[in-house]
Symmetry: C2
Subunit: 158 residues, 2 copies
DNA sequence: TATATTGATGGACATATGTCCACCATATGG
DNA sequence: CCATATGGTGGACATATGTCCATCAATATA
């Protein structure tokens, strides 16, 4: 596809297309690393439980329904997996003070440590790639990703 | 954790830690979108096949073994899934001229179109977030991600 | 109080996925 | 030529996952 860079609309569209391409490559590569990280997290644990724990680590506590929507899982499945994680002491689920039908699911310190350890391996893979980056470039990337990750431009709901 | 920003070593480590955190959030959020994108790709197709197709779209043709390693799957599974994709006309597998035991697996134009269409939905989710970004910031992010995604600093093995 | 709604849990079952193994074709080394 | 190694395919089976449904407790509404 040939793009006329002098046309502002097309230039913007091209930028967006290239962002999609780069995100796709990143996510595609990260998937394999995630599979291996999940295996490291806990041997007696279903891999899908790792996704839940990681989401909780990334975005903080929520109730079961929100969590189910966020990770694109059935509520039944989330309930089962949270049960596993709770039995292993990696998450806690306290009744929601606002609506006592619901529960607030949160990582325990033990769970947080496990996540950090499991992710460390993946960290190594990327650390090699940024080894020769300047601090300025690295800081810039972190800042831009941070902005990309907070939909409203506000702080994440920790 | 309190970091002494005047110590260059700690500042660098802190940057790397924050990059890990941001990547984790991005990957965690992207996972749910990927699940939905896979469903859009083809109804009669196993979701895992979408991962294969996406990897081929992101990184280009390879042989079955390399593909299996890259996506952290068993060779048997890759063989089965590639078979499905081939039957649907989304990939081609030609014998490797270098080693005629092996095959080179590549997306067909039809497969490429499907991937682009399936990813478009996810694109919309991110497009909202970057709607108010300046072209300069967007271009900067694309450039930095591009550098992050090419391990050796060289061009990807298309 | 009676009724309907909502959040969560867990059983039951179908489907998808991971893994092991046997097999075939080619390649490699003696 | 023979033995062995390697890339790929597909069968068989165990496990993980997705989905539907019944159930319970707390809310909300009348």
């Amino acid at each position: 596809m040939v793009v006329d860079a002098t046309d502002p609309e097309d230039a913007r569209g091209e930028l967006e297309r290239r962002l999609g391409e780069q995100l796709n490559a990143l996510i595609s590569a990260a998937h394999a690393l995630s599979v291996r990280a999940a295996a490291h997290f806990d041997a007696g644990l279903q891999p899908a439980a790792f996704h839940l724990a990681r989401w909780l680590y990334a975005f903080g506590p929520t109730n079961a329904s929100t969590l189910a929507t966020a990770v694109a899982m059935d509520r039944s499945a989330v309930s089962r997996l949270v049960g596993q994680l709770r039995r292993l002491g990696f998450v806690r689920s306290d009744p929601d003070p606002q609506d006592r039908r619901g529960v607030i699911i949160a990582l325990t310190p033990a769970g947080q440590q496990r996540i950090v350890a499991a992710i460390a391996e993946r960290g190594l893979a990327f650390q090699e790639r940024i080894a020769h980056w300047s601090d300025a470039d690295l800081a810039q990337l972190v800042a831009l990703l941070s902005r990309l990750n907070t939909p409203g431009g506000a702080d994440p709901p920790r």
